[in-house]
Every structure is written in C-alpha cells, then in structure tokens.
C-alpha cells in the first residue's frame, strides 16, 4: 500500500505547499513537478496491482486481483477497475499541468487575474486531484461521497476565477446544482447503510464496498432499489446526465480552460465510476427480485436521453467551450448506456470509451484554450482561419474533433464500434437510435468546425505561444488505441470487465 500512500499524499502536500507560493513562475513549475511525481506513483500502483494478477486477495470480501489496506484508519481498495482510472487521472493531470503553465502566464499577462488568485488556482488544482484520487481508491462509500463533494468544493472557486458576472453565475449554478445532487446521493448512501445494518453485524464495516459486495445478495431489495434511485440522481448530476446537466456547459465554458480539461476528462469519469460501483451492489441485491435489471434499465434510459439531447444541443452552440461540453455530455451518456446494457462486451466498450474520451476531450480543450487566445474570444463566429494563423493549433483541433466524432483510425471509433456491436446483440432496436445520435452529433461538430479551421483569418490575427506536446501525446495515444490496443492494456481492461460483470471478454 506504499504506492497508494504516495499517490494520495503527493497532491495533498502539493496543494498545501502551492498555497504558500505566490510568484507565478515557480508555482507553475512546482505544480508540474507534483503532477510528475503523482503520475510516477500512479504507475507504481498500477504495476503493483498488475503483479497481484488473479491471485485472490485475503482481505474481507475477497475479490480477485485487488489490493486492500488501510491508511490512517480508512479502508482503501485498489483493483483493475479503479487503478486504470487512477493512472488516467494522474496522466491527464500531468499533461494539463504542462499546458496550464504557459496558459496561466498568458492570463496573468493580460491582467485577468492577479497573483493571489493564481495561488488559489494552483492549490485548488492539486486539491481537486487529491479528492478525485481518494474517491477512486477508497473502499468506504461514505468517504467516497465526502471526496466527490470535496471535488465540487475544490473546483467551485476555480469556475468563478475570472469574477466576470458570467463566471460567478456559472459557479453559483454549479455549486447549487451539484450540492443538491450530491445531497440526494448522501440520502442514498444512508439508505444503503440502513440496508447493510440488517445483515452485517459490524457497524463500522457497513459502508465498505467490498463487504457490501460480498453480502449483496442478502441486502433488502426494496431498500436498495430506492437507494439506487437517489444515488443515480445524485452522482448522475455530476456525470452530467440530462436533465441534471444544466451546470455542466456553464461551468466548463466560464472557468479557465485547464479546468475545463480536467473537469471534462476526469471528474465526469469519477462520478460515473461511483455509479457503476453502486450498480454492482444493486444488481447483486436485486438478482432474485421481480426486476433484476432495474439499475441497468435506469442507466440505459438516462444514458440514451443524455446522448440524444446533447447531440441536438451541439447544433445550437455559439461558444466553443460550451459546444465541447455538450459533446462531453453526449459521450458520458453513451458510456452510461454501455454500462447499463451490461454484459462483458458492452462493459469493455464503455471502459475503453472512458479512456479514449478522456484523452481526446482534454486534448481538445487544451487546443481550444490556445484557439481562444489566438482569436481573443470564445465565440465560434469570431474564431476563424486557425490553420493559417497557427497551423499546429488548427490541425490539432481538426484531428481532435475527427477523433471525438468517431472517425475510423482513432480509438473513439473502436470503442463506439464495440458498444454498437454489443447493442446489436442484446437490444437491436437501440442501434438505430445510437447511429442517428452519432450522425447528429457528427454534423453538429463539423458545421461549426469547418469555418473555424479553414475560414479566412481576421486582419492582424497572430499566433500565440503554445505548447502542443500534450495534445500530440494524447492524440497519438488515441490513434494507437484505435489501431492496436496493446496486450497489457487489453488484459487490464478485461480484468476490470471481469470484475464488473463477472465474466471476462477475452
């Protein structure tokens, strides 16, 4: 568990130290350094879990291939499912911090924020990483709730960082909607604990996911059903499922762009992770009741509605960051649908989609940040001719959007193809809805993209200092995942699939 301690401690200490560093340049570098150490620790943790292999863990409620342990009296558990998200979180956190350094310098230079707010920004950035990593690795459902709420609290000041009326409004919406949503999730957690108390004698273990999972068959189905509705609405608000999505486009478009990248790429994943973990419990509890697939159906319904509605809303957007946040809602909807569909193939597809979506979307947001600095606006109408002004940014945006829209050589195509295949096998009628939704979203993205990349640049538009390495790395990875998924990664995702569905795909 040493690796895990390092994974969690690094961002926490980083946040504390960054709270003290006021000058902009060293703070940016320090933030980068903390992220490098985090990624190193996350890789170490991944390696440790990989070494456990399929050996059965000896802890309570033994689950194959997982490591459990306690840090400061709290139970943590790492298995194939969450360790891949931990590595992804640390990786995107690192590349975003590479991008954030020059980006925030530009923001400081243009006088939009002062050094004090920059200090808040850096400190909260690492605190946000910390809360997400805790939410992913903890075994205790209550601690998971505290961490997800903590993630809201850490980011809400970042959304209002620019203090424009729009930014304050977006932050207030974000705070209130997510606060309410997450309060409902706490009610669901209390109900789960209530159900657990009827069957588990040790009150302290009643919120431990592994204990609950082992005893899932004995949990009272009626209570768990009600609890899941609350949990789904609560965590679903953070996933951005329609109709609880209202905060998402505002928060993503008004905050600083590095924040949009991590919110879209990481926070939504963490919330979806929580939903999937809870679905596993409810499925276990409802297996002998009259509606064994209730949780799956609910996820499919919410997922499909989000997917379709967000696709339509893409057409109406005028702000480039709002547009891509709707695209995030669309993809989260697709993943939710995939997890709801269940079965090894759909789950594998959804896990892969989580991975490629995070990589692609954060790359897109990084590019969009540069594009907005070039044009001096986020309005789609006024961003023109990127490819002539700064070819690197233009090409990145073009390739990124092609990837997110699901063009063949990229990883997103791969995962969407898997999801479609799974749909055809189990629920063929939904294939039609998915295909038309994909087409609608594709059209929505490209009608806006074309003039932004190829249009005539306005007079005097000049390139900005941009570090495109993170974008290149992300897009290369997505391309690689589309061409050939490396064996170890496929095995990794397969183990996670086995964990979630009980049967492996490969």
């Amino acid at each position: 568990m040493n690796a895990l301690t390092l994974v969690l401690l690094t961002p926490l200490l980083g946040a504390l130290v960054l709270g003290l560093i006021r000058p902009a340049a060293p703070a940016g570098w320090f933030n980068l350094g903390v992220s490098v150490v985090s990624l190193g620790a996350a890789l170490w943790l991944g390696w440790t879990v990989a070494l456990v292999g399929d050996a059965v863990d000896t802890g309570p409620g033994s689950i194959t291939g997982s490591l459990s342990g306690g840090i400061a009296g709290l139970a943590f558990r790492v298995d194939a499912f969450n360790v891949y998200l931990v590595v992804l979180t640390a990786f995107v956190g690192l590349t975003t911090s590479i991008f954030s350094r020059p980006y925030m310098r530009h923001v400081i230079d243009t006088g939009r924020i002062g050094p004090n707010r920059l200090r808040t920004y850096h400190s909260m950035y690492q605190l946000f990483m910390f809360t997400m990593l805790v939410a992913l690795t903890t075994d205790n459902l209550g601690v998971m709730w505290v961490a997800v709420e903590g993630a809201t609290l850490a980011t809400v000041l970042l959304v209002s960082l620019y203090r424009t009326p729009e930014a304050v409004e977006a932050a207030w919406k974000y705070f209130i909607l997510c606060g309410v949503g997450i309060a409902l999730a706490l009610f669901g957690t209390v109900l789960t604990y209530f159900a657990a108390q009827q069957v588990i004698s040790d009150p302290a273990a009643g919120l431990n996911w592994s204990t609950l999972y082992a005893e899932a068959g004995r949990l009272e189905p009626a209570v768990m059903r009600l609890a899941f509705v609350f949990l789904l609405v609560g965590y679903g608000t953070k996933v951005g499922l329609v109709p609880m999505h209202q905060w998402l486009p505002d928060a993503h478009s008004e905050g600083p762009t590095p924040m949009s990248a991590v919110l879209s790429g990481l926070l939504l994943n963490v919330a979806l992770y929580a939903v999937v973990r809870l679905k596993m419990l409810v499925d276990g509890s409802l297996v002998h009741s009259s509606s064994p697939h209730l949780a799956g159906y609910l996820l499919m319904g919410f997922g499909l509605v989000s997917f379709m509605v967000a696709g339509l809303f893409l057409h109406r957007q005028r702000d480039i960051k709002r547009m891509f946040s709707y695209s995030s809602i669309e993809h989260m909807g697709l993943m939710t649908f995939g997890f709801g569909l269940g079965g090894p193939l759909a789950t594998f597809g959804a896990l892969l989609h989580m991975l490629v979506h995070s990589l692609t979307k954060s790359a897109i947001f990084i590019t969009v940040g540069h594009a907005a600095h070039i044009a001096g606006t986020q309005s789609i109408e006024h961003i023109r001719g990127l490819i002539r002004t700064q070819p690197a940014v233009g090409w990145s945006l073009l390739i990124g959007v092609a990837a997110i829209a699901g063009f063949p050589p990229f990883g997103v195509f791969m995962s969407e193809f898997l999801l479609l295949t799974a749909t055809m096998k189990t629920a063929p009628w939904f294939t039609l809805a998915l295909l038309s939704g994909l087409a609608v979203a594709f059209a929505g993205l490209f009608r806006h993209l074309h003039p932004m990349v190829y249009g005539i640049p306005p007079e005097g538009q000049r390139p900005v200092e941009a570090n495109m390495i993170p974008v290149a790395v992300h897009l290369t990875l997505v391309l690689w995942l589309g061409l050939a998924i490396p064996a170890f990664l496929a095995n990794w995702l397969d183990r996670a699939t086995g964990l979630i569905t009980g049967t492996r795909l490969l």
Binding site: N140, W145, E169, G179, V180, A183, L184, L226
Partner: protein, 232 residues
C-alpha cells in the same frame, strides 16, 4: 401503527423529528431572513437533541460526540456566520415573500405524503419507528429542495441547502444509529467548507449583479444574443 407501544425514548425521538419537520415548513414560508436563520438554528439544535437521545437509547457513545458536533455546527456556527453575512450585506430588513405561498405550502404537504408513500413498501411493518423517521427525514430533505427551487434569494437558498443537510443527518442518526465516525466528520467538514464558500459567493454575486436575487443571474442561456469576448 400503534405509536404508544414504542419505548418512551423512541416516542421522544419521533416528537422531536416531527418538530424538525414543522420547522422546515416555517423555513419555507418565512419572509424575514433573520427569522428564517433563527428557525434554521432551532432545527439544528433539535437534530442535535435527537442525536443525543438516540445515543442514550442505543448506548452508542460516539453519537454524543456527533451530537455535540451537530450542535456546534448547525445550531451555532453556521447560523452565526449567516447572521454576520446578512448584517454585512445589510439585509436585516430584507423581506421576501413567495410568489404563491399557499401553493408552495400545499406542495410541501404533498411531499410529506409522497415520502410516506415511498417508504411504506420499503420497510417491514415491525419497524414502525424506523419507517416513520425515514419518511420524516426524507420529507425534510425534499422540502429543503423545494425551498431552493422557489426561493430566489441567495441566502434563503443556502438555508434550504443546509436544511436538506439537517434532514440527511436526521436520517443517518435515527434510522441507522449514526454513520461511522470518519464519514460523519468528513460530511461535517464538507458542510463547513461549503458554508465558507457560500459566504465568498454572496460577496461575489453582490459585486457582479448588485443584489442577491439569483433570479437575476440569467446571462448564461442556451442561445445568448450577444457574443462575449474572452481576453479583455
């Protein structure tokens, strides 16, 4: 359900919970902010009282600690912070009436009935006490939600949010005998941080729209007419 067969202390808990629910109604309809804050403080004190009674019934010593925590946080610290903010923002005389108070109160009544209906099939008839207490706390949560929807004043919305938290605490304490201590501490910490941030936001909202009426926060919509620029 025959209430009189319950142990005396459980009956006491039910009475206190009923007053908590009643205070939710008071909060919902209260027009003066200061009075609403006082009602909220009383609600917090009652939740703390419920916690200590449950601690006495079940011999759960850690609940005494959580009762003290609730009392300090919900009945003293948060109301005091809100009081100070209201004075600082010069809102002492601020009154705000609901658009249609009768309708909103009726909706709240409907929510109470709905909560009982939801809970009815869930918990076996033997657990009369638990069934009642879960229904009451769910009603408190939902009325808090209703308050956040219908009140347009930022401070009133925060009161709605905090009274939702009171309902959650009530459920956690009386239906399950308290969550594990770390979780309770974590939740309390989150609530406290949220309150501090709410305070920061009151000032930011005031600065940006010169009022705390959040209905006037309406610049962000799906099709904004004007285009906004990023780098001023």
């Amino acid at each position: 359900m025959n209430m009189t067969t319950l142990p005396l202390l459980q009956q006491l808990v039910l009475v206190l919970a009923a007053i908590v629910l009643f205070l939710s109604f008071v909060l919902l309809a209260q027009t003066r902010l200061i009075s609403a804050i006082h009602a909220f403080a009383w609600q917090g004190a009652l939740v703390a009282a419920v916690t200590s009674v449950v601690a006495a019934t079940g011999q759960v010593p850690h609940l005494y600690f959580s009762a003290a925590l609730t009392l300090a946080l919900k009945a003293i610290l948060i109301p005091w912070m809100l009081h100070r903010l209201v004075r600082r923002l010069q809102l002492e005389r601020h009154t705000e009436s609901l658009q249609s108070p009768t309708l909103v109160t009726m909706a709240a009544v409907a929510l109470v009935i709905f909560s009982y209906w939801l809970v009815l099939p869930m918990i076996q008839a033997e657990l009369t006490f638990t069934r009642n207490i879960v229904a009451v706390s769910l009603a408190v949560v939902l009325i808090g939600l209703l308050m956040m929807v219908f009140r347009t004043q930022a401070v009133a919305q925060v009161l709605g949010f905090m009274s939702m938290e009171n309902g959650l605490f009530l459920a956690a304490v009386s239906a399950t005998g308290g969550m594990p201590l770390v979780v309770e501490l974590g939740v309390a910490f989150d609530v406290l941080v949220a309150m501090v941030l709410f305070g920061v936001f009151f000032l930011q909202i005031r600065e940006s729209i010169d009022s705390l009426d959040v209905d006037r926060l309406n610049r962000l919509s799906e099709t904004p007419g004007e285009t906004r620029t990023e780098g001023q």
